[in-house]
Subunit: 196 residues, 2 copies
Amino acid sequence: MRTVTYGAACSADGFIAGVDGSYHWIRSTPEAQAIMAEYWQRIDTLIMGRKTWDIAKGYSGGGSMSGIHSYVFSRTLETIDQDGVTLVKDDAAEFVRELKRGPGKDICVFGGGDFARALFAADLIDEVGFNMQPILLGSGIPLFRDAGRRIDLALTECRPTGKGCVYMLYNVRHRASPRRAASDSRARTKRGRSAF
Amino acid sequence: MRTVTYGAACSADGFIAGVDGSYHWIRSTPEAQAIMAEYWQRIDTLIMGRKTWDIAKGYSGGGSMSGIHSYVFSRTLETIDQDGVTLVKDDAAEFVRELKRGPGKDICVFGGGDFARALFAADLIDEVGFNMQPILLGSGIPLFRDAGRRIDLALTECRPTGKGCVYMLYNVRHRASPRRAASDSRARTKRGRSAF
């Protein structure tokens, strides 16, 4: 099963951008860049909602990146004419569930919390990572929105990444089902159990 | 100058309690207990708003603890008849500013984010610490509320505290003023600069 990861740089009060979308307060460090470079080797798929697509299409030649396929989930967009990008108008949860079962490398949930909330609610996110910045924004776009239920996590990694930032990585403890429990067990074995 | 600290155990999405006030999801570990025991040696004063007092008065013989004096800030309460507890009906920011200048050990902001927000807004909080629990609550009582401005922090400590929890301690970078800048400099020298 492909692992679906959600994460971002965030403020210490949990925002990924200011109310104006600003993110110039995010600190770039060699340690954080190394974590991201290693992570990009693990994935070949980005999934995102329409709002993130609206921002992403302005970058990287319209959102396409070598070796990465993007899926944009929207009921309102008519078409996306872009190599390496597929518009999905079907139910996101069902589509992502099938995507996870298929072949390929891991999957990254790209962007803000609205699309991620739907995936959390459907218990489709396996891993959560964030690089906490030493700032309280007070308001902005939250990393996490209410998924309607409590979600248990298991810390797998925690380390300073320079300039006062801290990187934390968690496995999501899925709601119990025989198949998911077996999948979790394999994932833990593959990457090692938490030392925390 | 006495240091004013604000902090709590919180979920990974920044809540200190559920919407129903529940906190049974907070994990107790020897490491977290040791941090708290060491911290309590540093302080002799608790400051809190009326909502926290309503909860605290039910514990510890009505909120009084040996060697600790509590100040409860409320414009609506008429009186508090309790040894070791003083009701303050004056402006909280001005009172706390004077309290910091006076003699004594350090000061702990006790409880939720409403009272802390006013102190953050007045730039009276010097230190922020939280023990992040491996859970997403989705909703509840937030650790941080919007203080109306961005607040820069400096990470001074970060370490796992067992059972998937991570403790982080930050100094607040105060808005520049000659006296505050000098005070910050002394505080850094006393406790050592961040290694992060």
